[in-house]
Structures are given as structure tokens and as C-alpha cells.
Symmetry: C2
Subunit: 312 residues, 2 copies
């Protein structure tokens, strides 16, 4: 009896979102994009990745994502063997095959596997994978006015001295446990700090504070997000002063405005930290201004490239 | 032309070691054991695992591995739904199907995937996987007299404040980069320290020092290895004093004997640290004594269980 239930439960098929993938030299269905359990990208999380997004048929800042991906792979001593143009064709092909107007497009390189399960990473052959799924949001557009209600976790973000934080990586258990903590306490998501209680980042997003001096975002121990860099570039364009600096929890809570940045949603107001309202408790003027210009850039050819053009 | 080479290179089939696996309610070929790229066990390394070994047809300390696996899964808030007896049958079945006398047997639980690629880990359905491959060694038996030549890395082991080190996990990039560093400098493997330069562990192994007072092994910030616990139990049996304590690099280098412990090879002498000989430069008496009794226990029914019996 137990056995029967057990089998039934485990035989349920996985259900996939709409999407498409590229692996082993060809485009495949997302449900066919599977990696061998022996791949060190799984068994050691020995992998790097990047995520670009497509909005209304156009990639946003695609070259910057590719630059970072190439750098991350090199730092892990497994340079990507696919050149930039071919990579763009693969990513665009995934979006096209999935039939998506707005997409989240991930490129991955793992250490791969070695024939004899040899422990030496130099003996493995790296594996490249790409996939496109529907665009996802850390804060949905209809929740913009409400903003994110964030809890600061007691879990410390994995330090740069252990894992180079400029290499985009899948070492997320600290962030996942932080998310569980935040959910338990009734919040939307988590923020993690370093050992000195400087606030660093959350699961998939950087943070910006706005005070009298201008914009501020942590200068170390964080992923150097492409949306974070976009905000810095937009701040220059808008003549808004900004600083790369450490952000103590106290400084964060006394900010006039706070927002999160991520490829998964862009610029998203944070209106509460640990239940305390930030500023007036609603998204502030600077956040709104940056949010608007960020989305305006999504039709600007200097910031974007069309999926169709990349496939020509 | 480029495209042709590129396709050829990526279309090479993966080559697998001899082995067998269990997934989705059934035994399968190792080459068929593949997880969807969307599984959070891959995309967030949101997973736990354990590895038991089989020697001459008998599992060693299997219940201890299962105890730790169940605890790790619970700490990650995805308790394993497979009961102990069924789990043993699955693991034994993998060994039997692979036809292995000596095996490395891994059990894995991932967070699984959510239908809509939802970021909330509570919405995923955990996935269980097991596989058996031939037994592997961090130090091969024929190299015992030579011992391991280990380099202490500048990379710091991911701290307990970020990831609970008692949860066996795949967050290995610090260890992998440490291995590359060690290889570059001509050593066999790496040892990582904490921020205070206390030596913690290496890729897949704990360490023990032997000095005038007795045996010592780090008391915190390390995986509580089953082989580490076995050494503690054997030390009691042999009336050897032992201490759980911090091990500074200096203390380590001035040890009379040093050894590594791992399911992947048991008790393995470390004869050099950063090129400096430890003790007399050959495996010491305590290391030899523990090594002998460790392997003797592999035929003892109080320490082992037969693969055949578990399948009855």
C-alpha cells in the first residue's frame, strides 16, 4: 500500500512553463533540457550563468550580460567556447522557438562531467545550455505602489573571500533559507548582510538607497548586477549623484527611498524593512523617475537589440 | 565552417562510468539519470545529499549516512518522503543493478521545480535521486606510503553563518577554486581555512592531527563527516585520547601525524603541507593503526550490512 502511493507520487510528470532550450548543439523543447546527474554543475554547483531579458521582442543590454558571462566563465577557468555572435543567435533562437514577446533568457556553463567520475575538474568537458521562459517579476507591476516588504535575515551572505561575488553563481542556499525566514515572518523577500551587518543583496536583486546625498548602493560583496549598472548609468544621465558605499542596516532604514534592481523586474520600490516603513511608505520620486526611464529605454535601439534582427 | 566544427564538438555524447540510478519511482541506467535544467537543485544548488560506500558487497555505516541525510533534508525544510527501509532497498538496488562489489552510492534530494518557474521554494515539489558508481579514492591505496601533499588555499571555506555546515551541500566553488590553486602549485589537493586561519576541511574530506596530547579535529565550520565520526569511535575503542578543537595552520604543520578522512577512501595520510614534511614525512603509527582497524571493520556485521540482505 505504501509502495503504491509512493510510486504514484514519484511518477507524476514534471510540468514545465512555456519555453525552449538549446543544448548539445541544437534547439530542443524545454522539457527535454536535462543534465546528467553526474555533471559537476549539479554535484558541485560548479557552474556560472547569466540572465538577459527580452521585452516586446527586444533584448535589453544583451552585450553587458554576455561580457559578464564570458568573464565569469574565464574566472572559473572554463572559458566559453561559443563566440558572441553565435551566442546571440542561440539566445534569440530560444526566444523565437518559445514564441515569447517578453522573456527571461538564461545562459549557463557547467564544468561538465568526466568519463570516469574523476574528481579533478580539469578532466571535465564544460557544458553550455541556454533556455528562454516567460518573463518573471520579483515585484509584479500591479504591486508597484505597494512596493516590496523585506525582512533582513540573520543569515550572512556567502562572503567574497569564499566565492568571488563578481562571478554569477548558483550558491543560493543562504538566500533560500533567508527567503524561508522572511516568509515565516510574513514578508515578501529577504535581504542578507555581511558579518558587520552591512546590507548586501537579496535573492536575485541588488539594493539602492536614496538619501540627501543621492543614490547609494553597496560597493563590495555583491553581484555587480547589470540592472544595478543600468541605474548608475541612468543616474549619470539624470545628473543624480550616486555613491558606491557600505550600507548599514540603520542607514538603510533611515533612507528617504529604497529600491531593488534585478533583471527579473527592473527597478522595484522597497517600502518596508522588517515592518518599518521607508520614507513616506510609498514609492518615492527618484524611484519613479528611474523606473520610468528604465522602461523607456526598452524601445531605444542603443540599449536594445531585436530578437528578429539577431536571427537574420 | 565554424558552425560545423562547433556542432561536432557539442554533439559528442557524454561518456558515463559504469553505474545505475533510481529516479521517479524506478531504476534506470546511469546515462538516463538527468534532471530538468529548471530544477532548483541545479539553478540554486538548493539540494542536499549523502554518500555511503559499499566494500566487498557490504554497506559501511549506512544508517549513519541515512540519519544525516534525513536531518539535512529536514533542515532545508523538505523532509525526505522515502522511509528508511525503502531508501535502503533503493540504494542496494542501484549497487546490484550496476553489478558493483565496491561502490560509491549517492542519495540526493533537490527542491525540485515549480510548474510556473515560481521563485517561492515552497511551491516546488522535491525530487529524490540515487545512483551507484565504482568506488573512488581521494588517495589511491598504492599511494598510501607516499601520502597526500596538500596546499593550504587562500580561499576561505564558506562559513557556517552563511550555510549550516552540518547540512551536506553542493556549495563547492570555494573548494574547486582551492583545488585549481593547489594543482597550479604542484600539490595533490587543497585545505581551506576560516577567516582566522584555522584549518577546516578539504574537497570532500575532514582532517585529523596527531600530537603529544592525542588526536584532534576541527570542532566547528566543517561537515560532520561519517568517517570523521568513525575515527572518533575507533579512537575510543583503541583508548586514544581525542579533542574537538580549532587547528591553527601552525599547529597543523607541527603535528606528528596528519590524515584526511572521507567516504571516498577512508583514512588517508597527509605527509606534506605546503611542501613541508609532517612528522617523519611518512604515514605515522596512529594513522596506520586507525587505517587498519577502519578497513577491518568493513567485514564486521555490527558496522556493515550486506547489499544482498537489504534486497531480500
Amino acid at each position: 500500500m505504501f509502495f503504491y502511493n509512493f510510486r504514484r507520487q514519484n511518477l507524476n510528470e514534471d510540468i514545465f512553463p512555456n519555453g525552449a532550450a538549446w543544448m548539445s548543439g541544437k534547439f530542443i523543447k524545454l522539457s527535454e533540457a536535462r543534465i546528467p546527474v553526474l555533471d559537476w554543475g549539479f554535484l558541485r554547483s560548479d557552474a556560472t550563468y547569466d540572465v538577459a531579458h527580452v521585452w516586446k521582442g527586444r533584448f535589453f543590454c544583451l552585450d553587458k550580460h554576455i561580457d559578464r558571462f564570458f568573464k565569469s566563465a574565464e574566472k572559473l577557468r572554463m572559458p566559453c567556447l561559443i563566440n558572441r555572435n553565435k551566442l546571440k543567435q542561440i539566445l534569440a533562437g530560444c526566444v523565437k522557438n518559445a514564441g515569447l514577446e517578453n522573456a527571461y533568457v538564461e545562459m549557463i556553463q557547467t564544468r561538465g562531467m568526466s568519463q570516469n567520475f574523476d574528481r579533478d575538474p580539469r578532466k571535465s568537458k564544460p557544458r553550455f545550455i541556454a533556455f528562454a521562459v516567460p518573463f518573471g517579476w520579483i515585484l509584479k507591476p500591479e504591486e508597484f505602489e505597494k512596493g516590496l516588504d523585506v525582512a533582513v535575515s540573520n543569515i550572512k551572505r556567502i562572503p567574497h573571500s569564499s566565492i568571488d561575488s563578481t562571478i554569477k553563481n548558483y550558491h543560493w542556499l543562504d538566500l533560500v533559507i533567508g527567503m524561508f525566514d522572511a516568509y515565516d515572518r510574513g514578508h515578501n523577500t529577504a535581504l542578507l548582510t555581511d558579518e558587520e551587518n552591512n546590507v548586501l543583496e537579496g535573492p536575485g536583486f541588488n539594493i539602492f538607497s536614496v538619501d540627501e546625498i543621492g543614490l547609494g548602493t553597496p560597493d563590495r560583496g555583491v553581484l555587480e548586477g547589470i540592472t544595478r549598472q543600468t541605474v548608475i548609468d541612468l543616474a549619470k544621465e539624470l545628473n543624480l549623484p550616486f555613491n558606491l558605499k557600505q550600507l548599514s542596516l540603520q542607514k538603510l532604514i533611515s533612507s528617504k527611498e529604497l529600491f531593488a534592481t534585478s533583471t527579473a523586474g527592473g527597478i522595484m520600490p522597497i517600502t518596508k524593512i522588517n515592518g518599518q516603513s521607508i520614507g513616506t511608505g510609498i514609492p518615492g520620486e527618484i524611484t519613479r523617475k528611474l523606473h520610468k526611464i528604465y522602461w523607456d529605454k526598452h524601445t531605444d535601439p542603443t540599449w536594445t537589440s531585436s530578437v528578429e534582427d539577431l536571427l537574420k
